[in-house]
């Protein structure tokens, strides 16, 4: 299964980006063959509105089934839900540590938006 992590870097030791829609990018990790791909989200960063929705579209295109991030606004939450993507939150500082927590089943799922829209 593919899992997307919000990050400001392109490697597993890169820091997590706590933002979802306005994250610098994503690392999409495939748990079946332990490979990953870095996806640039900066295009979306430039929009004034709708960043969470566009980021969701990007994740759907990558085929990810869940996303690990810091926080998630109401629009992004609705979009992710509609796309059938599970949302996990973490305060882990790096992607590698977040991945470890994900594998250990130690992450909390987010059942409602936890920040206001436009949180960036």
């Amino acid at each position: 299964m593919k899992v997307a992590f919000t990050t400001s870097g392109t490697t597993l030791d890169a820091p997590m980006d706590p933002r979802f829609g306005r994250a610098q990018g994503f690392i999409v990790y495939d748990t079946e063959n332990d490979t990953f791909e870095a996806v640039d989200n900066r295009q979306v960063l430039n929009s004034a509105h709708g960043a969470g929705i566009q980021a969701t579209e990007a994740i759907v295109r990558q085929g990810a089934k869940c996303v690990v991030t810091g926080h998630c606004g109401p629009n992004a939450h609705r979009a992710l839900n509609a796309a059938g993507i599970r949302i996990y939150t973490t305060e882990a500082p790096t992607v590698a540590e977040a991945l470890e927590a994900y594998r250990a089943g130690a992450l909390a799922t987010l059942n409602a938006a936890d920040v206001d829209g436009h949180w960036s």
């Binding site: 706590p18 306005r22 960063l45 430039n46 929009s47 004034a48 509105h49 500082p93 206001d116 829209g117 436009h118 949180w119 960036s120």
Partner: protein, 292 residues
Amino acid sequence: MPESKIQELVIISGKGGTGKTSIAASFAVLAGFPVIADCDVDAADMHLILAPSVRERHEFRCGNEAVIRPDDCTGCGRCRDLCRFDAIAEVKGGGSYVVDPVACEGCGVCVRFCPERAIDFPESLCGEWMVSETRSGPMVHARLGIAAENSGKLVSTVRREARRLAEENGHRLVLVDGPPGIGCPVIASMTGASQALVVTEPTVSGEHDLERVLKLARHFDIPAAVCVNKWDLNPEMTERIEALAVRSGARIAGRIRYDRAVTLAQIQEKAVVEIDAPSAGDIRLVWESLGL
């Protein structure tokens, strides 16, 4: 550095012309090398005081705009009928149509439904944003193209870049000079900020606009402080405004006296606190009250 450690103060006013930028420029001097973000992209004035030397320039693109190829247009008028923004008109003499780029919202409806596929949809260049050095710290600022739309998106870009600079270089404060009003650019400049300072003036307009801008701050859950500039022009109104601020859940950050030296400082391209101005002390007290 974790993002939460960086403070972001946004200075807004609701009403324009209350002295917001003069105060923001003074704060830039007092803050000890913050990152400065001029988000009043419609009428950016901070650079007139801080004399930036531009280090980077970036094009700012915002959406697309419809352009009808006159040779392929058969003049059926479908595009004009479908356009909700009144942006398409018949060319004088008839026979073909033309898009008014100023009114076009870039929705792409005409492009999609033109039976002749005679409408192009190029990306539009709306302005530029810059990263500069100033004597008070790095500054991110922008210039919106003439009659360009979407300043909210440009505001978001300026803020994001300012925050990135702060993260990369270990600044602990981002100082945002916001636009007037309560609409799109203001929302884009204040959401997620750690604190908002509203600079108002003791007039009926100042009072009215303060009420609306404080509602906006509450709507987005941002702690707000209020300072009355030129307070001595109408002390009674100042008291009324401060009472209103407190009722609306804002803190009082202080009063700044009416001072002609503010314009004098502007003419010398200096911040008010950089010259011997009577109101400089007031501005210092307001700054200190913010606890930044």
